[in-house]
Structures are given as C-alpha cells and as structure tokens.
C-alpha cells in the first residue's frame, strides 16, 4: 500500500536518474546503512564477524568486481582467485616494505596493481571470445598461483611459504594481525564495501556502463556506433580487477591474517565468486550482495543444521553442499538467469501494484 511511486513525482532528469526511485526504498537504504554502521558494530562478536560478516563483505566486493566484468561487460572470467592473490601478495609486500604508510592506502594500491595485472591478462579478450576467453582466463589463474608459490621473493623467503599480515592500525585502531577486535574488522570491511559499491553503481549507471553492456549485448553493433572495443574491454578488466584486488588484499590482511596462494586463492575461489554472481544476478549491484550473502550463509546454515543438530559427519554435509550449490546454479540459469536480484525486483513490482493489480 505504501510501496509505490504514485505521488512521488520526478520533476527533473536528476530525480529520475537516482538509484532508488521509490521513496520507501530510499528510506530502507538509509536505515540499513544506519543499522550497519551505528548499531551492529556494538553487537558483533568474533564468531559473527569471522563466520559471516567479514567474508560476506569481502566476497561482496569481489563479486561486484566480477559482475562488472562478467555481468556488465560480458567477459566470463575464471581467474578471479588468481587476481585476488595478486591483491593479497601486493598488499603483503607493501605492508612489510612501508610499515609507516596507512593500511588503507596499501589496500587501494594493491587494487591498482591488480588492475594493471588484470589488463595485461585481459588483452587476449580482444581476439578471443565467449568460453574460449573463459578458458583462457584459467591461464592467469594457474600461472599466478604458481608464481606466488614458486618465487620466494613474493613471500619474503619465509620457510612455510606463507604470508603473514603484520599488525597495522587505522587512526590508532588495530585492523590487521591477531589482536584485531571484532568490531574493527567489521567496520573496515564495511567501509570498503560501501565505498566500492557506490563506485560500482556510478560506473555502471553512466556511459561507461552502457559501453560495457553494449559490448556484452552485441559487440559488433557497439563498435559500429562508436564504442572502442579495446578501451571498453580494458576498462572493464581494470575496474573489475581493482575490485577483486582490494577484496584479495582485505581477505588476506584483515580476514585470514595468513595465506598461501594455492590454498586461499585456488580455482575453487574463482568458481565461488562466479557462482555468487550467477545466483545473485548477472549485471546487478544488488545481485552481487545477494549472491555473496547466500554463498556465505548457506554453508554456515547447513553445517549448523546437519552437523550441529542432526549429527551428520562433516564430509557428508560438504557433499550435500556441493549438490545444492550445483543444483541451484542450474536451477537459476534455467528459471531466472538474472538471479536473486530479478526475483527481488519482481516481488517489488508486484508490491508496487498491490492490492489492486489492475
């Protein structure tokens, strides 16, 4: 009844262009932000942050990145794990080399470095299309992980081959290392997520996003109306890799604290992020959030119910998880290729008309 645009007149193109055109949506957005920033930090403990919030926020950043490349620009990538590794190792090297610089800059620069690497590996996309490209991106995945495993310079010759995040702080608050408080972990991830989601929204709402979608929907037509395919694809790879790199840097420095390339950033990570955007919704900012939340929550839930309550062995629960994830991927591709985001949109469309659907 209250959820509609009637009476909410737009008198300028600016109003018409806003992210949440419906008043109640706008209100909901501000309330969600307020709760996330002002209330939740005082309530979280280690379990909630480590099991749910931190992975959710970080994966959402990575999913936003992959969604820019795959959902908006139409270039399927199976190299996300490798690019996260670039972000993580870049961040590690920077943290160790410049301990006096604020960690926030390290994370951002790591994103930048990943963007450069992403562009380099994205260059073949000019010649290779579709799943040829998807397979080609596997080259970056395997090569990068191998590189970080085999070249000791990247892990500073540590005996274990691992990288460990030293303790760093922002405005006197410790955010990396074993002494990090739960709320600090939560907040730093959240701040990065909100800022990057805002940037992703801006990039996709304007001409940049249209160029990407043009390349996705019909690359030849896009080129003929004036899109430079080289620039469009490279900017997509750059922006996407930046996001993924930041996610990798946070994943290592804030969330894991210690990482090893093959273990933390293997091919399964690439698939995990890809599944997030398929289930959440290709070409949707909200979908990146929904997909990340889903893929983080489902295993936690399954584990709690099957292992915790019903006493199943953990490996059996893991097998069931594979089946559910795989089944859902197929299900969504068949029934709703735009994922959870589209389901949400449809619900809202129904709600807009309710209770008088005609």
């Amino acid at each position: 009844m209250f959820y509609r645009e009637a009476g909410d007149f737009k008198t300028s193109y600016k109003d018409d262009n806003q992210t949440f055109p419906i008043r109640l949506d706008r209100a909901g957005y501000w309330v969600a932000l307020a709760v996330a920033f002002l209330i939740v930090p005082f309530m979280v403990n280690d379990y909630w942050v480590n099991a749910i919030f931190a992975p959710f926020f970080i994966y959402a950043i990575a999913a936003l990145g992959l969604n820019i490349l795959t959902g908006y620009a139409g270039q399927v990538s199976l190299g996300t794990g490798g690019f996260m590794a670039v972000g993580a190792y870049a961040c590690y090297k920077l943290m160790v080399a410049f301990p006096e610089v604020n960690i926030v800059f390290h994370v951002l620069i790591s994103g930048g470095i990943t963007a450069v690497v992403g562009v380099a590996f994205g260059l073949p996309s000019l010649r290779i299309k579709g799943f040829y490209l998807a397979v080609a991106t596997l080259a970056s995945q395997f090569f990068l992980v191998w590189l970080f495993n085999k070249v000791p310079w990247f892990y500073n010759y540590s005996a274990s081959g691992q990288i460990n995040a030293p303790e760093r702080s922002v405005f006197g608050v410790v955010v990396t290392g074993p002494h990090t408080e739960a709320w600090a972990k939560y907040l730093i991830c959240l701040i990065f997520l909100v800022a990057l989601a805002w940037i992703a929204r801006n990039l996709t709402r304007g001409m940049m996003g249209r160029k990407w979608m043009g390349i996705r929907d019909m690359d030849i037509a896009a080129e003929i109306i004036g899109v430079n395919p080289l620039m469009a694809k490279m900017t997509a790879f750059a922006a996407s890799s930046f996001f993924v790199g930041v996610a990798g840097a946070l994943f290592f420095s804030v969330y894991l604290g210690a990482a090893e390339a093959g273990e933390s950033f293997g091919i399964t990570k690439s698939f995990l992020i890809l599944f997030m955007i398929i289930i959440g919704g290709l070409g949707s900012i909200f979908g990146s959030f929904a997909g990340a939340a889903f893929m983080v929550l489902m295993p936690v839930l399954l584990k709690n119910v099957l292992v915790g309550m019903m006493g199943w062995p953990t490996d059996l629960a893991a097998h069931l998880e594979f089946m559910i994830v795989g089944g859902l991927i197929v299900f969504f591709l068949i029934v709703e290729p735009h994922g959870l985001a589209q389901l949400w949109r449809l619900t809202k469309d129904k709600l807009r008309l309710w209770p008088f659907p005609h």
Binding site: Y13, N17, R210, I220, T235, A238
Partner: protein
C-alpha cells in the same frame, strides 16, 4: 520539371537545399575470398539529400553500407569524406566522424532499456573519463543530464515516450526498428545510414517510418542514405537513387531517370536472353 543535380547546390521541388558532396565513393571493389561482392562502384552522397540504394537481393547493397561505415575494408577504391580521403579506420573511428547507422537485422542492446540504448547514441558527445564517472558528482552527472535532454527530444520526436524504461528485448519488431532509429538519430549524425528501415513492416508502420525519415531530413537537415526494397517508398522519399545488381552499379540518378533506365528495368523485370 528537371533539376540540375550536378550543380554545386540546388533547391528541390519541395524547397530543401541540397549542398555539396559529403561522401564520395571512388571505384570501390570488395571481395570475400573469390566472391566479388562489390565491383568497381562509384557514387556520391550530397549534403542534405536522401540517397537511396536499391537492387535485388544479394546485389551488394548491405556490403556497400558496411564499407561506408568502415566495417568492411574494400580491396580497391577510396572513400572520401568531407573533401578528404579517409585513411583506413576502425568502425568506431568512423562513427566519431559523425556517421550513424541502423541495421538490417536489428542490432539493439537487448539487455538495456530503451532510454539506455538511445543514450549509447550520445557516446561520442560525452567526454568524462572513468575516474570522473566513478565519482559521478560533477562532470559525469552534468554531462549525463545534458545528454539525457537531447535523447528525450529524440524520444518525443519518434513518439516512444511510453516505452522509455522498457528493456528492449521485450519490444515488438516495429518498435525495435524505431528505437534503433532513435539511437542513430541521438548521435546527431552528419550522415545517417539506414539499412532497410521498413523491412517486415505493415503499411501503417511504413507510413510512420517514411514520415520520420522525411521529418528528420527536413527538420534537422540530416543527410540520409538508405537501402530499401519497397519501390513506392524509394521513389517517393529519395532525391537520387543508385541501382545495384550483382555487385555492379547499373543506374544512378533521380527517381525519374532511374525508372526509365533500360538496365534497371531489365534487372527488375528480367530480360529475354536470346
């Protein structure tokens, strides 16, 4: 009444001024492997005119359009645009020179709304870079809103206000054709290429489309080159007509002249071989 179509500029019967040559195609030959799609064709397009290219199926009309828009590279011949020889170019560079086109099989971006599709037509008029767009406030937003206004004018002109926010994939054929025209028009091109704008339309839709083409030419002074099969439409709309058959040019001139050209009549009605 006969017009001197060779003069530097002249005024048509309905009072439009036709200016000097905008695009001059000189001895274009295009081959695909052993197949010759276009053989040694020359013709020009003049400022402000409606220029039709006609011919039977497979005559090489669409290939000709693809040469003009830079998608195909002819093996021989030169393309002159605004008095300068065009160097080898990618299609997007050609578009930046002020060329826009529509396609025989509609080439819209199905995943985007009508408005977004039309906005893509404006991309050569927008200059904000990726970082400005990431921040949005400032140049990117100003540019977006200013160009939105241009698009809204085009939307009004083509009478598609009601589908502004509909994803293109859901539209029927006739409307898609119109949206494609809107996208090309939004680019404010100096030369507009239309590849069978009326294919598959019923009489009513054809009349609408003809009206839009004439208005476009009249109101904005857009130079138009079009391919069309419907002879009635071609003869009514165009100032000059090129006739192609098997990759060769067999006629060129006003509709009147073309209609009386023996080669053209042979190509269309068949000729007795004896």
């Amino acid at each position: 009444m006969s017009l001197d179509t060779n003069a530097d500029s002249y005024v048509t019967a309905d009072g439009r001024t036709i200016g000097p040559v905008v695009m001059d195609l000189k001895n274009i030959t295009l081959r695909f492997g052993g197949v010759v799609a276009i053989k040694d064709i020359s013709f020009d397009i003049r400022e402000g005119e409606i220029r039709a290219i006609i011919g039977p199926n497979g005559a090489g009309k669409s290939s000709m359009l693809n040469v003009i828009s830079g998608f195909y590279k002819p093996q021989e011949g030169e393309v002159w645009f605004r008095g300068a020889k065009r160097p080898p170019m990618k299609p997007f560079q050609v578009a930046r020179q002020g060329l826009a086109r529509t396609f025989q099989n509609i080439a819209l971006f199905d995943g985007m709304t009508v408005l977004d599709n039309i906005m893509t037509g404006r991309l050569n008029h927008m200059t904000s870079n990726m970082f400005q767009q990431a921040v949005w406030k400032g140049k990117a937003e100003r540019e977006e809103l200013a160009n939105r206004e241009v698009c809204e004018k085009v939307i009004d002109f083509l009478e598609i206000q009601h589908i502004r926010k509909t994803p293109v994939g859901r539209l029927p054929y006739g409307l898609k054709k119109r949206v494609e025209l809107a996208r090309a028009l939004a680019a404010e091109p100096s030369l507009l290429l239309l590849d069978e704008p009326m294919a598959g339309m019923n009489v009513e839709e054809k009349e609408d489309m003809s009206r839009f083409i004439l208005d476009m030419n009249d109101e904005f002074g857009t130079t138009i080159a079009l391919i069309e099969h419907d002879m009635g439409v071609v003869m009514d709309l165009s100032d000059r007509v090129v006739v192609m058959d098997y990759g060769k040019k067999i006629g060129d001139g006003t509709p009147e002249e073309v209609r009386n050209n023996q080669d053209v009549i042979d190509a269309y009605l068949g000729v007795a071989h004896d």
